[in-house]
């Protein structure tokens, strides 16, 4: 792996950790859903770096796009705040 890829990986790993903490500590469900979408998107880039493009496509389409949509529609039923 070249140096640029390693630096990119470190930046993305920090982004994943930050997004995980946001997902964990927030009380707003919309923020939590978007944070989980960010985690999926970044991990799909990781799969691409690790040379598994099949898994990368699946993770990007299911994890980042479709699951976010499911959660957004589910929030119509349960509301946006955790305390509701």
């Amino acid at each position: 792996m070249s140096e640029a890829v390693i630096i990119l990986s470190i930046v993305l790993a920090i982004l994943v950790v930050v997004a995980t903490f946001v997902l964990w500590l927030t009380k707003d469900l919309l923020v939590a859903v978007l944070a989980s979408a960010v985690i999926s998107l970044v991990s799909s880039i990781f799969f691409l770096i690790l040379q598994v493009p099949d898994v990368a496509i699946t993770e990007a389409s299911i994890g980042a796009a479709l699951t976010t949509g499911f959660f957004l529609f589910a929030m119509k039923y349960i509301g946006r705040n955790e305390d509701d």
Binding site: S61, I62, A65, K76
Partner: protein
């Protein structure tokens, strides 16, 4: 706060444990293929003519597992539809889409569907396949559901597409069982590896799976948006 800290410590210990186990069994970056995995990599292209060996494994070598996967998806979709049918909750409506959202969604959705169709038609040549292709098509419908002010889909169309694709998939498997003595066995010629018409039954299976997954997940989105009751 102390509870969250405790969770964090447990999570850290657990991930360290998983890392230790995995790195002991599969050293990173080394060629450690053994047994059946080595067979797939060595003979996959010769046996079935598909460049993308993952596709060959999923559809033909391990085709029966894929049938189980399709069944699980079907069951969960049915369960969700029935669960939502019973509830009568007052629903919050989505915010009204702006003009930019409406126009952009209308022009983007067909392109996304085209990408999904490309991915499942080229499943034996390039990364991807029936499941991701179908999911991408469902994503296009998600875009339409979110951005269009009025977007109506008849439920019967989705159900008929899904049922047709699912039963044709099982029929292809049974034909394989008759001719090659294995469920979903490859009963067509493999052709020249790398061409669009090659790899025997893999493109056919992925075409059917793509339609099935796409219509199924679109039905899920429709149920979630409209509350499960028939409109």
């Amino acid at each position: 706060m102390i509870r969250k800290f405790l969770y964090f410590v447990i999570l850290l210990a657990f991930s360290f444990f998983i890392y230790a186990v995995i790195s002991a069994y599969f050293p990173f970056g080394e060629n450690t293929l053994t047994g059946v995995a080595k067979y797939y990599v060595d003979n996959g292209v010769k046996d079935l003519g598909g460049i993308n060996i993952i596709t060959s494994i999923v559809t033909v070598y391990r085709g029966f597992d894929t049938l189980g996967e399709v069944t699980v998806l079907f069951l969960s979709v049915t369960a969700l539809a029935f669960t939502l049918l019973g509830f009568k909750v007052e629903r919050r409506t989505l915010p009204n889409p702006t003009l930019i959202m409406e126009t952009g969604g209308r022009y983007l959705a067909p392109l996304i569907m085209l990408l999904g169709a490309y991915i499942f038609l080229h499943g034996h040549l390039t990364p991807g396949g029936g499941f991701p292709g179908g999911v991408i098509i469902a994503t296009a419908f998600l875009l339409l559901f979110v951005t269009q002010k009025v977007y109506k889909l008849r439920k019967i169309h989705l159900t008929v597409t899904e049922a047709l694709a699912g039963s044709l998939y099982v029929i292809v498997g049974l034909v394989g069982l008759y001719y090659v003595r294995s469920f979903l066995g490859n009963f067509l010629q493999t052709g020249k590896p790398g061409y669009i018409v090659s790899a025997g039954i893999i493109p056919i299976i992925y075409l059917l799976i793509g339609f099935k997954v796409g219509s199924e997940l679109t039905a899920v989105l429709k149920n979630l948006k409209e509350g499960g009751d028939e409109h």
